[in-house]
């Protein structure tokens, strides 16, 4: 909301400095967002008259002018095409600063001719985009007059942010009222004469649905002249950025910004029969004042006559009854439209208008007739003519809210003592009448405050006027804890996972929760993930998986010359757009160069064993202690079917996957590198929260450790893990570890055969193993492995 300081002082008698008022506005909740001291910026510019105009001797497009500026006559070189003798212009003297570019005017020789000052266009003055020529002022303007006076710019324009609850401050008067309440002066009442009207309005008004419009006051004016508005009115509107249109329209705008009372004027000669306030019928349409056709739906509030829709109640008038300079007879409307219905219709049709903005926030019912009075006075004064009596349909209900409170409630909420006396005094400064019975203070809320409904609202009024800076600061540390845990198990797991993954060289990314449906069919059911109003076409679904955005990130960074990627994200992916279908996943990618070729190393590249190791060590970190991790080949379709595995914990659920990205998916994302991925479904990890802080008992054996190596030739398709497990199970006590130390594939072994070599570590808790103990267990190992892998031991 914009207003000028001079406009404010029409409503507020104050001795306060501007600075004080500015600070007070913010401290009572009317946050000052911008201040423009236009008076200062324009103080040097004055009216000049071009006395002579001739061609510049050395330049075709320049003209040499003699300009009368009152106290003297100066030579000015000018390049504007429209400069001519006798023209009244805006003159910028030497030493002034041009607002648009902050250029300081100096006396200068232009192409060999002295020039003192400059004649300005609206563009140069920062008033509009008009830069085709210099400003042509009206001929009657006096030479030497301050330009800012003519344009109404000798003022300070203040812009404040109005929160949705403060409908009362959408007019200058309301702002003045609030400042007065906060001790910044005295609210002035505008003197408005109340015209009775000399005849009955020939246009009757009928409200068919009083839910959408509870009251509609109309007044007929005959023989008005819809001229240009007087300078004071035009300048007022211009000062707050509104374009003057015609006296009638300007008057309604003025009343809206002054009293927060939206009005509308109809060309009465274009109304057929009576005015009917009703709900629209499906399929009706009308041409609004913004020159757009709107198609209406049942339930919307329209103002109609007996033939057609004239306007959308509380939102926008129609072109068909708009006022022009020819308009002679008008109907002035001041109505009370329903907040919700106005909000709905406005949103449905996407119309933003000043009237809608105000009606959906609630309008002071008492302004209905006051607005008519103020507008009547101005119309008669500016446009002449005669007015009818006011025709009122419906009821103006005051709906005075009553709220009971007490100083103890207010004190308890605000955190410091507020006495009855102080409370009552603050409330009365706000126009809230009070009556006290015992501790209870009954408040009667004035009609302009539609936002005060309960005691909590009263507490806000008190602290707002008293000042938020007066709230003390209290300690919030508690004597005893109220929460057993700050983070729960799942949250700790997430945080641990993040730090662990980053510690093994991955950079954490945070990408959008949206992604492009185009490449995502493979990851989930994109039809279940649609966003109704996406920000752009390529962010049209919730991500079914973390991979698509990470793959995009790889592509982007590849273009930035990165050739080694270790990136991860921990976040949510979605099965559908139901609130419960959100999963926590950690997803990491390693791709490209693992070790750079150097004086010490040869170049190596990442493969699936890197991500497998990362995934299993991550699981180990998150779930310390005994567990059984098994790997199988059943991976989702975005993995390379032969180079991927799923990880099962304790033979129950699948907790994650690792492997190479399916080449088809890679090519969809236009990625040529091999992408090695791990995914860990964090919600699936069994809860292994510590039940005791004790570690398991440690059993150490001091007897000698023995190792034996074995090699087996087995079919290629047999998983090497089978060799390990079948060796292990021979003697769970003696066999401490089984490890594969060599893998060898060669045709000399036979077709589709491979050789796996294992190192078995043996130790007893009871004795040093003798040679025959060792050979006995060795032959058992060989038998067991040969049996379960159908392989043969190599000797």
């Amino acid at each position: 909301m914009k207003f000028s300081y001079s406009w404010l002082t029409e409503h507020l008698k104050t001795n306060a400095h501007f600075e004080e008022i500015k600070n007070k506005l913010t401290s009572i909740g009317l946050e000052v967002e911008d201040i423009q001291d236009t008076g200062k910026a324009y103080q040097d510019f004055i009216v000049g008259e071009v006395l002579e105009e001739k061609k510049h001797p050395n330049a075709d497009k320049l003209k040499l002018c003699k300009v009368d500026i009152g106290k003297e006559k100066v030579d000015v070189v000018c390049g504007a095409p429209n400069v001519e003798k006798g023209m009244k212009v805006v003159y910028a003297p030497v030493g002034s600063t041009i607002p648009i570019n902050q250029m300081k005017i100096k006396a200068a020789k232009i192409r060999g001719v002295e020039s003192y000052g400059m004649m300005c266009s609206e563009y140069e003055l920062g008033i509009s985009n008009e830069h085709d020529g210099i400003i042509r002022l009206e001929e009657k303007e006096t030479v030497g007059r301050s330009f800012s006076e003519i344009y109404g710019l000798s003022d300070i324009v203040i812009e404040i942010g109005i929160t949705p609850n403060r409908q009362d401050c959408l007019g200058v008067k309301g702002i003045a009222r609030d400042l007065a309440s906060a001790g910044m002066g005295e609210l002035l009442e505008r003197k408005i004469s109340r015209e009775k009207g000399s005849f009955k309005s020939p246009i009757k008004i009928e409200i068919q649905d009083n839910k959408i419009c509870s009251a509609f006051a109309g007044r007929y004016f005959r023989n008005v002249k819809n001229t240009e508005s007087p300078e004071w009115l035009k300048n007022k509107l211009k000062s707050i950025g509104l374009r003057p249109i015609s006296a009638l329209v300007d008057i309604t705008n003025f009343v809206m910004y002054d009293e927060n009372r939206p009005l509308h004027v109809y060309d009465a000669d274009k109304i057929v029969g009576k005015i009917i306030v009703r709900t629209a019928n499906d399929g009706e349409s009308f041409l609004a004042l913004d020159e757009k056709d709107y198609y209406l739906k049942n339930g919307m509030c329209v103002i109609a006559d007996e033939k057609k829709v004239l306007g959308l109640g509380g939102i926008m008038g129609g072109e068909s009854t708009g006022c022009s300079t020819e308009t002679k007879n008008v109907l002035l409307e001041s109505a009370l439209f329903d907040e919700i219905s106005t909000a709905k219709t406005g949103r449905n049709l996407s119309i933003l208008s000043d009237a809608r903005y105000r009606f959906e926030r609630g309008i002071d019912p008492n302004s209905t007739l006051k607005g008519i009075d103020l507008a009547t006075q101005l119309i008669l004064e500016i446009c002449g003519g005669e007015c009818s009596e006011v025709e009122l349909a419906g009821n103006i209900k005051e709906n005075k809210n009553e709220v009971s409170t007490s100083s103890s409630y207010i004190s308890k909420r605000l955190g410091f003592k507020v006495s009855d006396k102080e409370l009552i005094s603050i409330l009365s400064s706000l126009g809230i009448e009070t009556s006290q019975t015992g501790d209870v203070i009954k408040c009667s809320i004035p009609s302009w405050r539609q936002d005060i409904h309960g005691e909590a609202d009263i507490s806000e009024e008190v602290i707002r006027i008293k000042g938020y800076e007066n709230i003390p600061t209290s300690n919030i540390r508690l004597k005893s804890k109220i929460n057993k845990n700050i983070l729960n198990y799942a949250q700790k797991k997430l945080m641990k996972a993040r730090h662990f993954i980053a510690s093994i060289e991955y950079d954490e990314l945070v990408t959008f929760s949206f992604t492009d449906s185009k490449n995502c069919e493979v990851f989930g059911d994109i039809n279940k993930l649609k966003i109704v109003n996406p920000i752009s076409e390529d962010l049209d679904i919730l991500r079914p998986n973390l991979l698509p955005n990470l793959l995009q990130a790889i592509k982007k960074n590849k273009n930035r010359n990165f050739d080694s990627f270790s990136i991860f994200e921990i976040g949510s992916q979605y099965r559908s757009t139901s609130p419960e279908d959100q999963l926590n996943v950690a997803c990491g990618i390693k791709s490209g160069i693992k070790t750079e070729k150097s004086w010490k190393n040869i170049q190596t590249i990442f493969d699936i064993y890197d991500v497998k190791q990362d995934l299993t060590s991550l699981i180990d970190y998150l779930m310390p202690g005994n567990k059984k991790i098994s790997v199988s080949n059943d991976c989702p379709s975005w993995y390379h079917p032969g180079r991927s595995g799923s990880i099962k914990i304790n033979n129950s659920v699948i907790a994650g996957y690792f492997g190479e990205l399916h080449p088809r998916v890679a090519s969809q994302f236009k990625i040529k590198n091999k992408i090695n991925i791990f995914e860990l479904y964090l919600d699936e990890l069994p809860n292994t929260e510590k039940k005791t802080t004790n570690k398991p008992v440690l059993n150490l054996s001091d007897f000698q450790i023995v190792t034996r190596d074995f090699a087996f030739v087995i079919d290629k398709k047999v998983k090497s893990e089978e060799v390990v497990t079948s060796a292990f199970k021979v003697d769970k006590e003696l066999i401490r570890n089984v490890e594969i130390f060599d893998l060898f594939e060669d045709d000399s072994l036979g077709k589709d055969k491979k050789s796996i070599a294992i190192k078995v570590t043996l130790q007893s808790n009871e004795k040093t193993l003798a040679e025959n103990d060792i050979s006995e267990i060795s032959s058992k190992i060989i038998k067991s492995v040969e049996k379960s892998t159908s392989g043969t031991v190599r000797s």
Binding site: L414, T473, E505, D507, V532, K556, N557
Partner: protein, 356 residues
């Protein structure tokens, strides 16, 4: 009595000629070997008797000890010479190097962990809610009815699923976690809820996805002065400063009454933003006393209980604290940015150690 002077002289003579370990070995064999001079003399002791044997033995043992000592010290000397020689030849170019790198933690995660650490110390637990929310939790229960003008300030993303006949939304703020938590838990309540939030807005200063942290305290006495105390501790700790100009301004949120916006003071020195001091104000968060209607919506008696809530933008906190100038870079996945602004995984925010 036998005079061992000759033997001693011979020992001395031989021990001057050591050049390497082998010569020491020869020396040892010559005197202490099975057929060494001293060993043979020892054998002869058996033929002596009485006092003479005792005296001879004593003398011989002394000589034997001196030989052992010569061997030990000379060996030590020679080894040490050898090592010195070896060390001189064993040089590596220490200007060569290899590197070990860690990954990085994203600034958003870092700031969320810092916030959790500070509030955790004040006994706030971390609550959560889903990113797809019901219209009721996101708006209605928070005292923002269907046609409330405040809804228009939230450019809401809608999805195709519905709850109770209303389309579900991507939560526009973390405040619905208040509702979920209060339905689950009775007062006293102290919680924060960090998380992702979404608004249909995309320009230089808006991102369609961003992060917030919500705070909620409900008990029988928490009031505006506690809210002020709470935010003061938080902001001072977070910005790691003892001086903090803080300003409360009235504002409006449908779910708090009174509502306030909080500004903190700052000055600019060159390109650096110094938080805490100075005449200029930066808006940092919104807060207020929980509206009684919100408490009633979650079946908490608003005559008995009251409390405060606050919400702030994680990205904004990160930008101000770490001097990140552009909001949109957080989600750009430019690895140069991540490596520059990211944090070491070993540096877990702590109240007793370093927060950042």
């Amino acid at each position: 009595m036998k005079d061992f002077r000759e033997l001693e002289a011979e020992i001395k003579k031989a021990s001057d000629k050591f050049t390497n370990i082998e010569s020491i070995n020869e020396f040892r064999i010559k005197f202490l070997g099975k057929k060494g001079i001293i060993s043979l003399e020892m054998k002869e002791l058996a033929s002596l008797s009485g006092e003479e044997r005792k005296q001879h033995a004593e003398k011989l043992n002394k000589i034997k000890d001196s030989v052992l000592e010569i061997i030990a010290s000379k060996t030590e000397e020679l080894n040490s010479e050898e090592l010195e020689k070896k060390l001189k030849s064993e040089t590596l170019d220490i200007t060569l190097s290899t590197s070990k790198s860690y990954g990085t933690i994203h600034p958003i995660s870092q700031v969320i962990e810092e916030v959790i650490t500070i509030f955790g110390d004040l006994d706030f637990f971390v609550a959560e809610g889903p990113e797809v929310e019901t219209d009721y939790n996101n708006f209605t229960a928070l005292n923002t009815s269907e046609h409330h003008p405040a809804r228009q300030m939230h450019d809401t993303f809608y999805v195709e699923t519905e709850t109770d006949g209303m389309p579900n939304v991507l939560r526009t703020h973390t405040s619905p976690v208040q509702i979920r938590s209060m339905l689950k838990q009775k007062p006293p309540i102290r919680l924060i809820a960090p998380g992702k939030t979404f608004r249909c807005d995309n320009d230089q200063t808006h991102s369609p996805m961003f992060h917030q942290v919500e705070g909620l305290v409900i008990d029988q006495e928490s009031n505006m002065s506690h809210l002020k105390g709470c935010l003061e501790i938080f902001l001072k700790t977070f910005f790691e400063t003892d001086k903090l100009n803080m300003r409360f301004r009235p504002s409006h949120f449908p779910f708090t009454e009174p509502s306030a916006e909080v500004d903190i003071g700052y000055t600019k020195k060159g390109n650096q933003l110094i938080i805490g001091e100075g005449e200029d104000w930066l808006e940092i968060l919104g807060c207020g006393m929980v509206h009684p209607n919100v408490l009633e919506n979650v079946n908490i008696n608003s005559n008995e209980y009251q409390g405060y809530a606050f919400g702030m933008g994680i990205e904004r906190l990160a930008m101000l604290k770490y001097g990140i100038s552009d909001l949109r870079t957080f989600f750009d996945s430019d690895l140069r940015w991540n490596k520059h602004y990211g944090f070491s995984p070993l540096n877990i925010p702590s109240i007793i150690g370093d927060l950042s």
